[in-house]
Each structure stands twice: as C-alpha cells, then as structure tokens.
Symmetry: C2
Subunit: 141 residues, 2 copies
DNA sequence: ATCCTAACTTGGACTTTGTCTAAGTCAACA
DNA sequence: TGTTGACTTAGACAAAGTCCAAGTTAGGAT
C-alpha cells in the first residue's frame, strides 16, 4: 500500500490530504473496514473530512482496482485493500469476524462450460461461513 | 414450493393470506427478487399488504431454511426460494442478471486446514462474475 | 513566487433499504 | 361462535449511500 499514492499520482490523481488519509487508513493486511469506519479513523487525523469524500475516494479506489468491495452480510459494504493478491473470505456467523483465506485451485475451473450460459467469466468471490474458535466456545451471544 | 405452505403449517405457522401470497410470489426457478419486488408483486394480488409483513415473512422463511438470502452487490438483498438444492450464483456485471449454477466438487474441500484458523465451517457461497451474452455484445450500457 | 482553473471537498438534503412499535385484526382451536 | 395470542398495519425511525451547489485547493502555467 505504501506506493499506492505514487501509483495514483501516475494515473493523474490530485494528491489531497483527504485521499492521503484514506489511503493510510486502508493500509495493512486483514483490513476490512466499512465506509463509516474508514471515515471515523480518517477523521482522527483530519477532523473535517466529510463522509461524501470518503465515499468518493473509496469508489475511485475500487474503480481503479486498488481496493475490493466485500459484501459479506447485506449490511454495509467493507473495503479490502489487499486487492493485489487473489484471496477469498472466511466469515464468522457469530461475531462477523473476517479473515482472508487462500483456497487452492482456480475457483473458475469448477464451473463447467454447460453451466456458464454464454457468460464471459471475469472472476469468482467465495465466502466461507462458519464459527470462529471464540464463538464455538460461547455460541450463545 | 407447492407444498411449502403445508410444511409451514406443520411447523405451527398461521396460514394467513399475506403469507400465502408471499409464498406464491417466490414460487419458481431462477427467482431472485428483492424485498421490494416481492412486495410489489404480492400487492398485485393483495393490495393492502404492508412492507413490514413482507419483511417479516421473508425473514421467517429464511430462518426456517426455506429461502436463501443472496447478497450479490451490497444493495438490496435478494431472496432465492431454491434453498432445497445446493447451488451457487452467476451474476452479470453489466445488467445484474442472476443465474443459478452448479459447480462440481465441494467448495469446502478447496480450503486446507491451515487456512481455516480453527473455524468450524458451515458452508460456502460462490458468486461467479462475468458478462452475459447480451452485455458482451453491447458492453456500453 | 503567484496566479488560475479544473479538480476536489464540503454540508446537507435526499433516497433506498430495512427495523421497530403500538394498535387493530383474524386464524385456529375449544 | 367466542376467545385469544399470533399476525398485520401504518408510519416513525435508522442505517447506508448518493447527489448537488457552493467553496477550496493542488499543481501546472506564468
């Protein structure tokens, strides 16, 4: 993520303090923040940043392929900066915790031509569900 | 779906006209309606049905395992009555069309123990993405 | 170094999707 | 046929996201 800002500048982005802060917030592994969480963390460094800017910036990062949108539960979308390494997600049904995981094989290979209905496939997103160790021990929440 | 109402009565459901209409709307294959679409179609048969009842009924059907929630895009959830036959979804990135598809193999098998982080897995949802034939021919929408 | 301007940001109104509640209605059993 | 608790309703509320007009600013031009 460290060279993200350089890459974006190369694509003609204007490098504003707001965009810098959003990019910093998204830095790291296993980061799956909602837009509101990104806004809250960004506001710690730049108190006047607006929600609209956070949404705009996240949308642009997604369009550029730098960040992935993850819709695990039909509630708020989450934003995953780990877009450069293919991975899938493992979600706890109890507490909602999310882990990046790496199944083996190409998920697309499992879909036979007869099940593709003429679509040109571009990818597959897999959400594994289960209970994390903490929720297995204390299932009643 | 035809015997759904009988099954539900067996579970102690009161069989109201509203529930009957919602179940009828959800009947069929490749049905992936949003709650609002279910409400609109139900209202054609029962004009005074309320949104709250549609949400309640859909939530109950999901809790009973008769209907699946599908979150393909972070927008409105969709409701899939085909819960009795395991399947996955193929979504067109252009127009949003959804098909039920059947990949071969068990999706869970692709996730090695070292990538399970102590979770007890319960299932996996796969969303294949691509362009449907119509959107491949006319990609600018 | 300063100016200019298109690009960016802002606050707030608005939309969409979904939840909750209090009061009224009715399916199913006795 | 009466009773009752489960069900439904309208509308207020909440959460998540979009849109817009007005103000600000990064970065190239001078």
């Amino acid at each position: 993520m460290s060279d993200l800002l350089e890459r974006l500048r190369g694509r003609g982005w204007r490098l504003t303090s707001q965009r810098r802060v959003v990019a910093e917030v998204l830095d790291g592994e296993h980061v799956h923040l909602t837009a509101d969480e990104v806004h809250a963390r960004a506001a710690r460094h730049l108190p006047e940043i607006s929600r609209a800017t956070v949404y705009n910036t996240l949308g642009e990062l997604v369009a550029l392929g730098e960040v992935l949108e993850v819709a695990t539960d039909g509630r708020a979308k989450r934003y995953d900066p780990n877009a450069r390494h293919a991975h899938q997600h493992l979600v706890c049904s109890g507490c909602g915790a999310i882990r990046d995981v790496h199944p083996h094989g190409d998920p697309l290979a499992a879909l036979p031509a007869t099940e593709r209905f003429g679509f040109v496939l571009s990818g597959a997103a897999i959400t594994y569900r289960g209970l994390c160790p903490a929720c297995t021990d204390a299932p009643a929440r």
